[in-house]
Assembly symmetry: C2
Homo-oligomer: 205 residues x 2
């Protein structure tokens, strides 16, 4: 951030500005990656559709065909996956914008508290969406003999493969968002409360 140099001597740490600028850029790069991954997961899953024609019976020599489509809308877990990832992509984009405009804006009141808390909420939502989709995908791939649910990925291979790619993208995105949120928390403590905290154990919950 260009607005950092020596104008905040009250922070009271020697190497704080240089280290902070570096961490700022690390967070921005991680956020950009998280944005791209969640956006990718959203688009790949939302555009995932496979239409296939099956021969269901043969009357004499005339085959009777049926055309079936696999769409993400047919599975509630995949709909939640798309909504959760779209929401996270939007959140990451907004936070990137806030980060770049940060030096020009003055944040007061509840605004600075909102960023890590929103990060946290988004981690929970995307983690839920990715996890639900993964287990539904596992069911599609392997089936469940106890519930007599047959696998369907042997019929819709490319639908399953594309869905799996979206899930991997989303899971890596969640991981990056957890890392971003953890860095934010650690940095807050390092910046302001590290030494006091070591003494003031009452901050621990």
């Amino acid at each position: 951030m260009p607005s950092e140099g020596g104008e905040k001597p009250e922070v009271g740490q020697d190497q704080a500005p240089a280290a902070s600028t570096k961490v700022d850029w690390i967070i921005k790069v991680l956020r950009l990656l998280a944005f791209l991954l969640t956006l990718d997961a959203t688009l790949v899953m939302a555009l995932n559709k496979q239409t296939k024609t099956f021969t269901v019976a043969t009357i004499g020599t005339v085959p009777l065909r049926a055309t079936l489509s696999a769409k993400f809308q047919h599975t509630p877990a995949f709909v939640f996956f798309v909504v959760a990832n779209a929401n996270a992509a939007l959140h990451n984009l907004l936070m990137l914008a806030v980060g770049f405009a940060g030096s020009k804006l003055s944040f007061k009141g509840l605004a600075p508290l909102a960023v890590p808390v929103l990060d946290l909420v988004n981690v929970a939502i995307v983690s839920g969406g990715a996890s639900a989709a993964v287990f539904m995908g596992q069911l599609g791939r392997n089936g469940n003999s106890h519930a007599r649910w047959n696998k369907i990925c042997d019929k819709f291979e490319s639908f399953c493969d594309r869905g799996g790619a979206a899930m991997i993208s989303s899971l890596v995105g969640v991981l990056l968002m957890i890392i971003i949120c953890a860095i934010s928390i650690i940095r807050l403590r390092n910046h302001y409360g590290y030494n006091k905290l070591a003494l003031n154990s009452s901050v621990l919950p």
Copy 2:
């Protein structure tokens, strides 16, 4: 916390000790509730089993019966649910212990950073477990005509009801854990960095 009174004047806020003690107790109560809810979710799901005898055919006048069991182990999403909730219950119990022993321990190095970061990771894991179980339960209740997966909750009502209770318990637990983590983040900023932060916008990611 009994060790708080006036021995830490370096915190530098007038009403900090009184407010901090109150927030300490709020966090402890929320954590106890989160512990009980995740433990409840673990036990209810792990002990969930229903055995039922169905008449599958009748030969002459002799009914042919089959006994089927519904167990949580049959569904990978429910296994993950149990593991995630057990892990979160253990985490909350440990953090409660750390909180109560906090005044006697001196935390240095990475230890104080670990609490909110572990909270964050646990929120992500339990959210994933609860969400996967909810969508699998929805599939059991409604089925999915597109994939030709039939509902099974009409045959195993009490298995589904107990599973649903465990899921509600887990979801409320996740919500409480999100609130705990958010309070920790907000408190860190309030304690140490609030006023500085309003000026130092570079802390925003």
